[in-house]
């Protein structure tokens, strides 16, 4: 019987299925961070039990760490206490912690792949909704709540119902100036912010196959923004080449054994999906969001929708969203003044993102009244950027290269956007107040963000590329 990629992984991880109930799903890798783990450790301690498989658990501090002066004690007391609690809990339970000061520290969804911990065919969870990122390697990876973090600590398993299956196929080639962030924002604008709720989403098609691993991660990262339980892409030579030689990648005979298994991880030709979506790569423009959920996006040349033109899902909320954003229905978003540019987050903070921005801004300067923060995803990304001289390019452009963390994606540390200010952001959520109370977020690709940094207004990056190349 033909099976999908998801089913092949799911089937090999079921310990048992409860009659009329969920399945017991075995978890291969469990990533934890300081914000969603403390109550789970407390729960374990109250029950008098220990983490069952500490060697399958990896910890880092990312959500509320500062992005300046990381060598100094964290100033904000509650953040410091949370980071200290993580350190203490990891030490007590024998969990490896890549905390502040460690060369592997960084955003949990950046470090897992770059260290070779994330591998095809695995089940991976973390108390963070963007765990879907790891699905780019052909794994089942999803975000969980703190009670579930405690369950994985206690048993290395979770009770799960099998989701429905959706395949989104993007065929064809991409226009100039269009990158993977635009693909996923385009998908979101088509299927809406709840279009994949209840589904595991496989991304397929020639436009996906042509992407690098880092670009694929950007797409899977935002499958949660469609409501999807997880997003995944079948592993291929690009995947295997990316993993090979990384710190925790299998080596020698172990590599050959894993490769034999990984090469079977694809959806069979006749496999059946509950829902299929087809998108032409050529139809995708550089994208930008105008509203307060990630499904409220448009091609940069389009007009902000009106209640007549907006999709059904966002009709009733459109007026409220536009009032919050201070934008007008039926007008162009190009030319909208920008106050801040944030290039970072688990969506777009990897070395390729930084290279893309650097090659665009080389020799250019930021607009005078715009503040630009570049926050690398990890210490390794930061070190690589410095080794390549990217830091110098940013410095000359007037961009601030900061230290790794989640930063202004969710404003848990000091990196907040002030109320009423506009921020063009490469992160994943434009919810009200996400980047700071009253902050107005426009989601876009690193290229589109870099273009706005230079002009000070929302800009069609293709116009600048034509002028320069």
């Amino acid at each position: 019987m033909p099976r999908t990629l998801f089913e092949k992984i799911w089937d090999t991880h079921i310990v048992k299925t409860i009659d009329n109930g969920p399945s017991v799903l075995y978890i291969d890798r469990h990533f934890i961070h300081e914000v969603t783990s403390p109550q789970a450790f407390t729960g374990l301690n109250q029950r008098g039990i220990r983490v069952l498989r500490p060697q399958q658990t990896i910890a880092t501090a990312d959500h509320n760490v500062p992005t300046l002066n990381q060598h100094l004690p964290i100033k904000e007391e509650l953040s410091r206490l949370q980071v200290e609690a993580l350190k203490k809990n990891c030490a007590e339970h024998g969990i490896e912690l890549y905390g502040l000061g460690h060369p592997f520290q960084g955003i949990v969804h950046v470090i897992g792949p770059e260290l070779g911990i994330t591998q095809p065919g695995m089940t991976i969870v973390c108390g963070d909704s963007h765990t879907s990122t790891h699905g780019a390697f052909g794994s089942i990876a999803f975000g969980i709540g703190t009670s579930e973090v405690e369950m994985v600590f206690a048993s290395q398993c979770l009770l799960q119902n099998k989701p429905k299956l959706m395949r989104i196929t993007i065929d064809g080639s991409l226009q100039k100036g269009v990158v993977s962030k635009d693909i996923v924002l385009h998908i979101l604008s088509v299927i809406t912010a709840s279009g994949a709720t209840g589904y595991a989403v496989e991304f397929a098609g020639s436009a996906i196959r042509a992407l690098s691993m880092e670009a694929r991660m950007t797409i899977c990262n935002m499958s949660i923004e469609m409501g999807g339980r997880c997003g995944l892409i079948a592993p291929d030579e690009i995947t295997f080449n990316y993993i090979k030689g990384r710190t925790f990648a299998p080596q020698g005979e172990a590599w050959d054994k894993e490769m034999a298994r990984w090469q079977t991880l694809y959806s069979d030709a006749d496999a059946v999906f509950d829902k299929e979506v087809f998108i032409k790569g050529e139809d995708i423009e550089p994208m930008i969001t105008y509203g307060t959920n990630p499904g409220m996006g448009i091609g940069i040349s389009q007009l902000i929708p009106t209640t007549e033109t907006v999709n059904e899902q966002d009709k009733s909320g459109l007026a409220r969203s536009l009032a919050y954003m201070g934008l007008e229905a039926g007008t162009s978003i190009r030319g909208q003044k920008i106050d801040y540019v944030f290039i970072g987050s688990c969506t777009n903070s990897r070395i390729e993102d930084l290279r893309m921005v650097a090659s665009f801004v080389k020799g250019k300067k930021k607009a005078a009244d715009v503040e630009v923060w570049i926050v690398p995803g990890s210490k390794q990304v930061e070190a690589q950027a410095i080794a390549e001289g990217i830091d110098k390019i940013f410095e000359e452009a007037g961009f601030q290269l900061r230290q790794p963390g989640c930063s202004a994606c969710l404003g848990m540390n000091e990196d907040k956007i002030p109320a009423g200010k506009y921020c063009i952001s490469t992160s994943n959520r434009n919810f009200e107040g996400r980047q700071g109370a009253g902050a107005r977020t426009l989601l876009a690709s690193p290229l589109t963000a870099a273009a706005a940094a230079v002009t000070g207004v929302v800009t069609d990056v293709r116009e600048l590329m034509l002028n320069n190349n």
Binding site: D128, L158, L159, E432
Partner: protein
């Protein structure tokens, strides 16, 4: 251990907004606690107060209107989307809600709610609009055993789905960890077969 839940008859608090994400339910700056208690006072914080100031409640927000009260929160479709923060479920419970009614729930929120003894009741769009049309004195009755929700004043009733396993857990106050610990040997046997 979640508190057991069977039947709840109560007034309700309506929030007629769709796509309410967990950043609205509990903004990220309040996620710095290391316990599960005390989140209720920050529930919907930025919709409740002007400029984060408790002395300046926004009069038009339902939680600030004394006519609205009770253990049931009723909200527009796609409730709880976004971040996986369980703090959203803790805040709802801590505020005093035991049931959330919507015409659609995000996956992770649904699980987080159930794991904390908060029942997500998914109703049809039509039924949701009927609830929104009631005045503040109306009560709803949610019967978990029968899997029904009724508008008491009109007698209109709709049934709702819940996974049978989760239903048993909630009726009895069991949690998944008790079950998972009870099958530890099977889990270890599964592990040994993998290598």
């Amino acid at each position: 251990m979640p508190k057991a839940l069977s039947t709840i008859q109560s007034c309700f608090v309506p929030i007629k907004i769709e796509n309410i994400d967990t950043d609205q339910i509990i903004p990220a700056r309040f996620l710095k606690a290391t316990t599960k208690e005390g989140f209720g006072k920050n529930l919907f914080r930025d919709w409740r107060y002007e400029n984060d100031d408790e002395a300046k409640p926004k009069a038009d927000f339902p939680l600030n209107q004394p006519t609205y009260r009770g253990e049931i929160l009723v909200a527009g479709k796609n409730f709880g989307c976004g971040s996986s923060r369980e703090h959203a479920a803790w805040a709802i419970l801590d505020y005093g809600f035991r049931v959330v009614v919507s015409s659609f729930f995000a996956d992770i929120f649904r699980n987080n709610a159930l794991n904390n003894g908060v029942l997500p009741v998914q109703v049809s769009d039509t039924f949701l609009q009927k609830i929104f049309m009631q005045d503040a004195s109306a009560t709803l009755t949610v019967d978990l055993a029968a899997q029904t929700i009724a508008i008491d004043t009109t007698g209109e009733t709709e049934s709702f789905d819940i996974n049978p396993y989760k239903k048993t857990c909630l009726l009895n106050g069991y949690d998944d960890i008790d079950y998972l610990l009870s099958i530890k040997e099977e889990i270890q046997q599964f592990e040994s077969l993998q290598n």
